[in-house]
């Protein structure tokens, strides 16, 4: 009978993440946001750091300003590219700060240093298709007031930020009702198809020319300047002084035209960011860098390992915690309602929000993603354990009791084996949801199959999206198949007969 009990201890294979740190070189961690320009700048910073003797790690394509800023404050990254407008309007929002020197002082108070501007001003602009704007005679943002029916698709970040849609609407008294938040890269496609007519974009976007867009003049001067700068931690100076001074070589070296070119190289010519960055460094700073292009296979293996690690640890943890919780819920009805209520509420939190909630607790990378996935996996297992135990017929429960078996033995020999199918089905559901949700982990730097999906969306590269989506779907199917096999081993034949 022992084998029925085994399923509690099904130990998913554990994968260890090797960390390659070469010798005594200080490790410098660089972050970037999930848009191409930030990734290129992040790549520039990490390659310079590398050439200055550091062992540099680039955590690319993280979910947003808050995530990066908090990671920088906590020391999970040492540096990342940012824009002065974002710093004053968002990071230091409400402090009424403007002007480079004021910003620098406010940041210093939090242990963060800011480089001088790198050269370009990547401000927000509001844009339309040239042909549409021409037809409607729209040249300035004020002109939009005359066309309240236009459909607007703003990037999610723009919808929320201090200088974004709400204040733009107030400043210009814009009457538009149909305003949606969407991914920036999807917005371009919406514009092409005519689903929306107005989007926000950055003045250095490669797409401006590609899609033939018109930037509307900010006639009331709403948008602040967005000079690109490098933010880095005070202690980088101590930890790796050579790196800190090397980074500053980028100051003033990237004018707007150059940045548009770099963006276009990546987005339109499909050259990897690392190569674009390396070529730029060699041409402008005569810094030689050694870029090893990852092969497709090694990248796939890395994403697979990261993804499996996320799923395995979070699911295993959820199994270990949920089964006892389910048992408790079934045995003590008062506590049971509370437990089921709480895990039910967790499930209603949108997965992206849950991931972001974890960052203040655990920072970025694998651990917060694992915790979020763990929380998500609780409900199906707890509920199915509870239901499995709860549905055992009275006669069977009493027969076990009448034999004189003590409660723990009844649970082990009768009740859990009889619930095995239900519990296993709960674990299977949790695992399949988990494999899918883990793709969002890439947004907070956890890697996995979400990484190529994220990059693919950013670069509008369907092949890349499929490189993440197909293995993720395959893994979900594999997991499902494995659990069906496990059912044969773990659910008694006597119970399977009954169901047939």
């Amino acid at each position: 009978m022992k084998r029925y009990w085994l399923f509690l201890f099904v130990v998913a294979p554990l994968f260890t993440v090797p960390s390659f740190v070469n010798g005594d070189a200080p490790e410098v961690k660089v972050g970037s946001k999930k848009f191409t320009e930030s990734v290129i700048l992040g790549e520039l910073i990490s390659q310079i750091a590398q050439s200055a003797g550091a062992s540099a790690v680039h955590r690319r394509e993280l979910g947003g300003t808050r995530i990066l800023w908090n990671a920088l404050l906590k020391g999970e990254i040492d540096a990342y590219p940012e824009y002065t407008g974002t710093i004053s309007q968002e990071i230091l929002a409400g402090e009424g700060i403007s002007g480079e020197e004021e910003i620098r002082k406010a940041l210093a108070a939090q242990g963060i240093r800011m480089s001088r501007p790198l050269g370009f001003n990547n401000t927000y602009i509001v844009g339309m298709k040239e042909a549409v704007a021409e037809k409607l005679l729209i040249r300035t943002i004020s002109d939009l007031r005359r066309h309240p029916d236009l459909k607007i698709g703003f990037s999610n970040e723009f919808m929320d930020r201090g200088d974004g849609w709400p204040s733009l609407r107030d400043r210009y008294s814009l009457p538009h009702r149909d305003v949606r938040g969407m991914d920036h890269d999807l917005a371009y496609r919406g514009l092409e198809r005519g689903d929306i007519q107005v989007i926000d974009l950055y003045s250095t976007d490669a797409e401006i020319q590609y899609y033939n867009l018109r930037g509307l003049a900010d006639d009331l001067g709403h948008f602040p300047a967005y000079h690109a700068v490098i933010l880095y931690r005070d202690d980088l100076q101590k930890k790796a002084p050579k790196v800190a001074s090397a980074l500053l070589k980028l100051e003033g070296r990237i004018p707007e035209k150059e940045m548009v070119k770099l963006n276009a190289r990546v987005k339109l010519d499909r050259v990897p960011e690392s190569r674009v960055a390396s070529e730029f460094l060699e041409a402008t700073l005569s810094v030689k860098t050694d870029v090893q292009a990852e092969t497709g296979a090694s990248r796939f293996l890395k994403h697979t390992r990261e993804h499996l690690l996320l799923v395995a640890i979070s699911l295993l943890g959820a199994i270990i915690v949920s089964i006892p919780l389910g048992i408790l819920a079934a045995k003590v009805p008062q506590i049971g309602q509370i437990i089921l209520g709480i895990v039910g509420i967790i499930q209603t939190i949108p997965s992206l929000a849950l991931l972001v909630f974890m960052i203040p607790l655990l920072g970025i990378g694998g651990p917060p993603a694992i915790l979020a996935l763990f929380l998500y996996s609780l409900l199906p297992i707890v509920r199915n354990t509870y239901a499995g135990l709860h549905d055992i017929p009275m006669q069977i429960r009493e027969s076990a009791e009448a034999l004189g078996l003590p409660p723990a033995a009844r649970l082990r020999l009768v009740e859990l084996p009889m619930s095995a199918r239900s519990i296993l089905a709960g674990i299977k559901t949790a695992a399949v949801i988990n494999v899918g949700t883990a793709t969002l982990g890439a947004l907070i730097g956890a890697g996995g199959y979400g990484q190529p999906i994220l990059t693919g969306i950013r670069l509008d590269d369907v092949g890349l999206i499929l490189q993440g989506a197909v293995p993720a779907a395959g893994l979900a199917l594999l997991v499902q198949g494995l659990f069906e096999l496990a059912e044969r081993g773990l659910v008694s034949k006597g119970l399977r007969l009954k169901a047939e």
Partner: protein
């Protein structure tokens, strides 16, 4: 004289919400006898058995088993000296016949040989096909399932056997066969048996003594003959007459 009583209930009541399932019951079960509990559905028969084996606690009164009062502390140990065949079988569907019967013995650490020897005795006694022990309950007929239930109850050689409508779910033919087998087994073992049935014929077939219950109280406690010849109240004859078979009525065989 006390020793003659294996189970003694005094002043036992049990209420479920508004339902008074057992009311101030005094009942002594004599050793070596087969006592049958009978009465209309819902009169408290199953509740009485569940009280005796300590599955539920009485609201008032005491229950003694072999002179010891049942308490939450000793009930697990005392149950090992009682065998219980629950209404509707209650076999563990995830275990084979063998494991169903020997579950408790395995838990108590009996070695394999001892278990096998005991099972050989029991399959003999109950006329159960040995190869049926490898099957799961879902693969056994209704009659075979009841035999496994009976073997499970007898496994630890208990002092008393409590059976709740052991034949209730079986069709007439199988039932007749099993009735004969059961009575033979009771006679062979000479065990104390408390059996619940709602069938007066079955009660007469097994019972040394029959307790007729109504609304959680004993209406009359006698042999079948006495119940028929001198009913304590009209309810007794009504209950017996209601169960008279149509054939008997046709033949006009009764006064």
């Amino acid at each position: 004289m006390e020793l003659n009583y294996i189970l003694e209930l005094s002043g036992v009541s049990k209420t479920f919400g508004q339902t008074r399932a057992v009311q101030r019951m005094d009942l002594n079960v004599e050793a070596g006898q087969t006592t049958v509990l009978i009465g209309p559905s819902g009169c408290g028969k199953s509740t009485l058995l569940r009280l005796m084996i300590g599955l539920i606690r009485p609201d008032t009164g005491t229950i003694r088993f072999e002179g010891t009062e049942l308490t939450p502390d000793n009930v697990l140990a005392l149950r090992q000296r009682m065998g219980y065949v629950i209404q509707e079988g209650g076999l563990f569907p995830h275990l084979t016949g063998y494991d169903n019967v020997s579950l408790m013995a395995q838990y108590l650490g009996w070695d394999d040989n001892r278990i096998k020897a005991r099972l050989a005795e029991l399959t003999d006694l109950t006329h159960f096909p040995t190869d049926g022990l490898d099957r799961y309950p879902a693969q056994l007929s209704g009659g075979q399932q009841q035999r496994v239930s009976l073997m499970r109850a007898l496994m630890l050689d208990p002092d008393v056997l409590l059976m709740d409508e052991p034949l209730g779910a079986l069709d007439a033919m199988i039932r007749a066969g099993l009735q004969t087998d059961l009575r033979e087994i009771f006679q062979t073992l000479g065990k104390t048996v408390v059996m619940v049935t709602h069938d007066i014929g079955e009660a007469g077939f097994f019972g040394d003594e029959i307790l007729l219950l109504r609304d959680g109280q004993v209406v009359q406690k006698d042999t079948l003959e006495t119940l028929v010849s001198s009913p304590a109240e009209a309810f007794v004859s009504d209950f017996i007459n209601a169960q008279r078979s149509p054939l008997e009525t046709l033949g006009g065989g009764e006064s």
